[in-house]
């Protein structure tokens, strides 16, 4: 079941990738090639097989809820594309 360019546009929106028409076309072709190769997965009998999400068996890991020093705000903000008054600056998301 091949993906159409419109399917790929929908995935690109979910993935927050602005792809132009050339890229949509190229990505469609590559994804379809790979997915065709992986169709074999659908033939494997996995009835009753539990999925392995972690290769090392683990349960919840807890620690004491104690205050610890955190990273410095100035150092963190120094990596931000835009910051002001100790805050990250982003484009306006609500109307004026």
């Amino acid at each position: 079941m091949a993906l159409t360019p419109d399917d790929v546009r929908k995935v690109a929106l979910l993935a927050r990738l602005e792809l132009d028409d050339d890229e949509i076309e190229r990505q469609s072709r590559r994804i379809n090639e790979l997915m065709a190769r992986f169709e074999a997965l659908q033939q494997i009998d996995v009835t009753g097989v539990e999925p392995t999400f972690q290769s090392v068996p683990m349960c919840n890991v807890l620690r004491e809820d104690e205050p610890r020093p955190s990273l410095h705000r100035e150092e963190l903000l120094a990596n931000a594309p835009e910051s002001r008054d100790g805050l990250f600056i982003v484009p306006r998301i609500l109307g004026d």
């Binding site: 993935a15 990738l17 992986f38 996995v46 290769s55 990273l71 990596n79 484009p91 998301i93």
Partner: protein
């Protein structure tokens, strides 16, 4: 003292501890070697000359004061540029992080510093560790020291090439589907992927969190063991790091292999594997048998599904992990954008390369409503079948032996436009990540002047037995003593 850069980490560390060579002289020797060799190799994205000389001076002062800081004190190291280093740019080979300066150290970086190693710089890699040739780096490819027209493998190609070209005695890489072992094989060095959970992933920029693991690339098995001694162990900052004691891995190298049972899975000796490569693997198994091990062919039928399951699971995890690069808190932001969502979309389009976009797209699709059960959940069920095959094999055998790479290093650009051919480079290495078990690649011969690797796989947390066989093989051969022509 001439040619310090040709010494192993262990030999160099011993000279420094004995104060026959200063840490500063060692650092200068490797920095000089980088100046000579790296313009033709491009193993490094950043060279930290000032840091290295200052840290070396501090080690020399401690030695002069009578301290004995340990076998790796003063030994230079390189870190793959997906490992965070406080105050030192960490790019992941990506435009999107070109100017990112981490405010903290990865645990492995901190642990290597704590035993006195000297950071020479950050090694090139495929963007976000996605690739098998280091051609996906946004800052240009690394070249294979054995033949500059060929790739060094990937994604830790800069780390492998740096060690092979004598630009560093130790480099750390990361391995999600073979990214330490495959470049180690193609560059003729030793590469060790520890058990999942053996080494902390804190400060490793995440690609596929259930598969990623940090490990050493070195010229000898003993140097890999020394490095693992320094970086292994529980870290409260990584809840998946195992709370198990860390043995002295260098002691483990010394034991004999007499009586060890080796399984040789037939799935790795045909198909995509070059028949000559398969033949060299059988010869290496014979060498181990002459040393007293016992070997027989066996089968791991589910490993043939590894590639398909991996290319669902890894992209799915990547699509989630890489969602954080949205142009808000760190990394680049596109200059032109409309609105909040437009900013993220444009930033990610400009900041990520083709391969990263492709994996994000596949992963997003595999996790999207209606496809989760068909792809992601099914791939994780197949992963269970793969694990069961290994569990059964390890009831009979102590170790499994395979080739590391199905072929020698391919030419630059040869596979760049064929994503499937590129991914086949990892067919021998993917299963260890899927099962979470440790695996090592050691040099096992040359084909047309290019090195090849032998892969040995062990039970979870049984690095000592793995190292014991790898060391025995290395001592019985002299492949690791050959030097690339530069």
């Amino acid at each position: 003292m001439a040619d310090l850069h040709n010494l192993t980490a262990r030999a160099l560390g011993a000279l420094i501890a004995g104060r026959q060579v200063s840490a500063r002289e060692a650092a200068e020797a490797f920095l000089a070697r980088i100046e000579v060799a790296d313009p033709g190799i491009h193993a490094f994205l950043t060279v930290t000359r000032e840091h290295a000389l200052a840290d070396a001076a501090a080690i020399d002062a401690r030695l002069k004061a009578g301290e004995r800081p340990g076998p790796l004190a003063g030994v230079p190291v390189a870190l793959k540029d997906v490992l965070c280093t406080r105050g030192i740019r960490t790019t992941c080979g990506s435009r999107i992080l070109e100017r990112f300066v981490p405010p903290y150290d990865a645990t492995v970086a901190a642990r290597l510093a704590a035993v006195g190693t000297i950071l020479l710089g950050k090694a090139n890699c495929d963007e976000f560790a996605m690739g098998s040739s280091t051609e996906n780096s946004a800052f240009g490819p690394t070249r294979n020291p054995w033949d500059p027209e060929r790739v060094p493998g990937g994604s830790s190609g800069g780390s492998a090439a740096a060690v092979a070209a004598r630009e560093a005695p130790i480099a750390l890489g990361t391995d999600t589907g073979g990214s330490i072992r495959q470049p180690a094989a193609l560059c003729g060095v030793v590469g060790l992927k520890p058990t999942y959970g053996r080494v902390s992933r804190w400060g490793l920029v995440a690609y596929a969190s259930s598969l990623d693991q940090v490990g050493p690339l070195t010229r000898t098995v003993e140097d890999a063991a020394l490095t693992l001694n320094a970086i292994a162990g529980r870290d409260p900052l990584d809840s998946t790091s195992a709370d198990l004691p860390v043995p002295d891995y260098t002691q483990a190298c010394r034991a004999e292999v007499r009586g060890l049972r080796l399984g040789v899975p037939s799935e790795f000796l045909g198909g995509e594997v070059d028949p000559t490569v398969a033949g060299m693997t059988r010869q290496a198994v014979d060498t181990l048998c002459e040393a007293g091990a016992e070997a027989e062919e066996c089968s791991l039928p589910s490993v043939t599904h590894c590639l398909a399951a991996y290319y669902i699971i890894a992209p799915a995890e990547a699509s989630s992990n890489l969602a954080r690069y949205d142009g808000v808190r760190y990394g680049m932001r596109s200059r032109e954008h409309a609105g909040h969502i437009g900013m993220a979309e444009r930033t990610r389009d400009e900041g990520f390369g083709d391969e990263v976009k492709q994996r994000i797209m596949i992963g997003t699709y595999a996790l999207s409503a209606g496809y989760y059960d068909a792809y992601y959940r099914r791939a994780q069920q197949v992963r269970t079948l793969i694990r069961r095959d290994f569990d059964r094999a390890f009831e009979r055998y102590d170790l499994l032996v395979t080739p590391t790479s199905p072929t020698v290093a391919f030419r630059l650009a040869e596979r760049a436009d064929d994503p499937l051919a590129m991914k086949l480079a990892d067919i021998c290495t993917l299963p260890a990540n899927m099962a979470g078990i440790p695996a090592i690649s050691v040099p096992c011969g040359f084909l047309e002047g290019l090195p090849l690797g032998l892969q040995i796989l062990g039970k979870a947390f049984d690095e000592p037995t793995l190292l014991r066989a790898a060391y025995t093989y290395e001592q019985a051969t002299d492949w690791h003593r050959r030097r690339p022509p530069l």
